[in-house]
């Protein structure tokens, strides 16, 4: 097969990449056709094995997604025919399938919703824990292996495998449906879906899996925004992720240490992502129904507009945080609002607001206090706050950053 490899110019890693890109839709279609996640997963896995043998020799088929769906469907039917339990399942799905016979894969044309849309509402059903929602979404829609999902959330592969098995078992036993919620249910049901995509992005920002998870979250947000074009918060989330992603290159130094927003090299910000994020955001803000994701995106858009930190329109950011605090009245939002107010009215006003918050176990609270205390010349207290923050920070990069702040404060105190 060596000659064929050279002719097609395709190595197994490349097959894996294309396959992963295309297989989410196929997996969702098969789950719908067979009503069984395990059967669908096994079938897509078998199709991958076939692709690994075939694609390097013959080249990628013109419609790889269609090829995967057809191949996996045939694999599933063959396998089910060999098992008695499988024959029973087949006869059941045949009853459901229009025209009888074999399970039909619905064609995706016109207003027929994409199967992935049904599936993401299944994965993020409120009857499942957030942990299970995250794991299922990454596994079934992101196409990550169990090992990759485990690594993203710092748990062992065995723990993650158990978590996935338990979640899939609940979907099956309790009959969590595969369907897009109706319009009146959508606001409630969309909330965990958006939260899961946002959590996946954030896990990518600070966790060891890094950019891969961020890219996956953006991919899922794009799919969702394409499938639900009238849902403003979906567009708002996509804009937020794109604007946050635009600062990736400037967020860390070569040694992995963190750079604060105010100290970032703004020429490194990705203008294409900023333009895309701002265009999406403008389009949804025009509808004048801002929710929490649109407002967070708007705050990021104001930062993106400032060529230097001094040019930042802080009063505008404070006004947006005022609105955000109404939409999402959490102490974390109140903390960030206090930081913005500090830029307009000075660190003493901000510190008074921060000290009212009950966020003792949240390390950015202590980091914020440390910064404000330092700016007020209270270096000894600042050093203590840096120390508390560093002790709680989840990653090495964040700990190093905070320890440096603590050292600087101690030196200033001398």
């Amino acid at each position: 097969m060596g000659d064929g490899d050279a002719a097609a110019g395709l190595d197994p890693a490349e097959v894996g990449r294309i396959f992963r890109e295309e297989s989410g839709r196929s997996l969702a279609a098969l789950i719908r056709a067979f009503g069984d996640i395990d059967v669908a997963e096994d079938a897509v896995q078998e199709a991958f094995a076939v692709a690994l043998g075939k694609w390097p020799r013959d080249g990628v088929p013109p419609n790889p997604g269609g090829w995967i769906t057809t191949t996996a469907r045939n694999q599933a039917i063959d396998r089910l025919r060999r098992e008695s339990r499988g024959r029973q399942l087949l006869s059941e799905v045949a009853v459901l399938a229009p025209g009888g016979g074999e399970p039909a894969i619905p064609q995706e044309v016109g207003p027929v919703p994409d199967d992935r849309l049904r599936l993401i509402f299944t994965c993020c059903h409120p009857a499942l824990s957030t942990q299970a929602q995250l794991a299922l979404t990454l596994r079934l829609l992101g196409g990550l292996s169990t090992r990759q999902v485990a690594r993203s959330f710092l748990v062992s592969e065995a723990t993650m495998a158990r978590r996935l098995v338990r979640a899939k078992r609940k979907i099956k036993a309790a009959r969590i449906p595969y369907r897009v919620p109706e319009a009146h249910e959508l606001p409630d049901r969309l909330r965990p879906v958006l939260a899961v995509i946002y959590l996946i992005y954030n896990a990518g920002l600070s966790g060891p899996a890094g950019p891969g998870l961020c890219a996956e979250a953006i991919r899922l947000a794009r799919i969702l925004a394409g499938l639900l074009p009238d849902e403003l918060e979906v567009a708002g989330l996509l804009a937020l992720l794109l604007l946050t992603e635009s600062r990736r290159a400037s967020r860390t130094r070569a040694d992995g240490s963190l750079v604060l927003l105010g100290e970032q090299d703004r020429t490194q910000w990705d203008q294409a992502l900023i333009t895309e994020g701002q265009t999406i955001l403008r389009r949804c803000l025009r509808r004048n129904h801002p929710g929490a994701y649109q407002l967070q995106a708007a705050i990021n858009a104001v930062h993106a507009d400032a060529a230097t930190v001094e040019q930042t329109d802080w009063p505008q950011i404070v006004a947006l945080y005022d609105q955000l605090l109404v939409a999402a009245p959490t102490p974390v939002v109140a903390l960030n609002r206090a930081i913005a107010i500090g830029e307009v009215q000075g660190p003493a006003v901000a510190l008074a607001l921060v000290d009212e918050l009950d966020l003792d176990t949240y390390y950015p609270f202590h980091a914020t206090r440390a910064d404000l205390l330092g700016r007020l010349g209270r270096h000894r207290e600042a050093a203590a706050a840096y120390q508390r923050a560093a002790a709680m920070a989840p990653t090495d990069a964040e700990q190093d950053f905070l320890r440096r702040g603590g050292r600087a404060s101690r030196e200033a105190d001398r």
């Binding site: 309790a174 009959r175 969590i176």
Partner: protein, 119 residues
């Protein structure tokens, strides 16, 4: 169709805010309407309320003999107070019934699928 157990659990000694007579009457009214609707839509399978756990008796086999003892199987603060068994096409439909029950009785409802009805 799948079958679901909608169970009402009460916690012994936990003081819930007592309902006024008016609220009690409203709750009974809501439950009556709900049960009628469960039956007319074919979702109702069974329902019932239980006496307090002190009225329970346990029967078990020990050393080839059947022994009868007083009291509930597990001494615990939480106990089953009542239940509905409903049939529903999927969990969302069962949860919709459960949200109506919890609205009427103002206590949490646990929704659990029966095994062996997966048709």
């Amino acid at each position: 169709m799948a079958h679901y157990l909608l169970s009402v659990h009460s916690v012994e000694g936990e003081v819930r805010e007592p309902m006024t007579d008016e609220e009690m009457a409203q709750s009974h009214q809501q439950l009556a309407v709900l049960e009628q609707e469960l039956k007319s839509t074919g979702a109702w399978v069974a329902s019932g309320r239980l006496h307090e756990p002190a009225t329970a008796t346990v029967v078990r086999r020990a050393g080839g003999e059947v022994v009868t003892t007083d009291g509930p199987f597990v001494e615990s603060k939480e106990h089953l107070g009542g239940f509905y068994i409903v049939q529903a096409p999927d969990l969302d439909a069962a949860l919709t019934w459960a949200s109506r029950v919890t609205g009427a009785i103002r206590a949490p409802i646990e929704v659990r699928p029966f095994a062996g009805f997966e048709v």
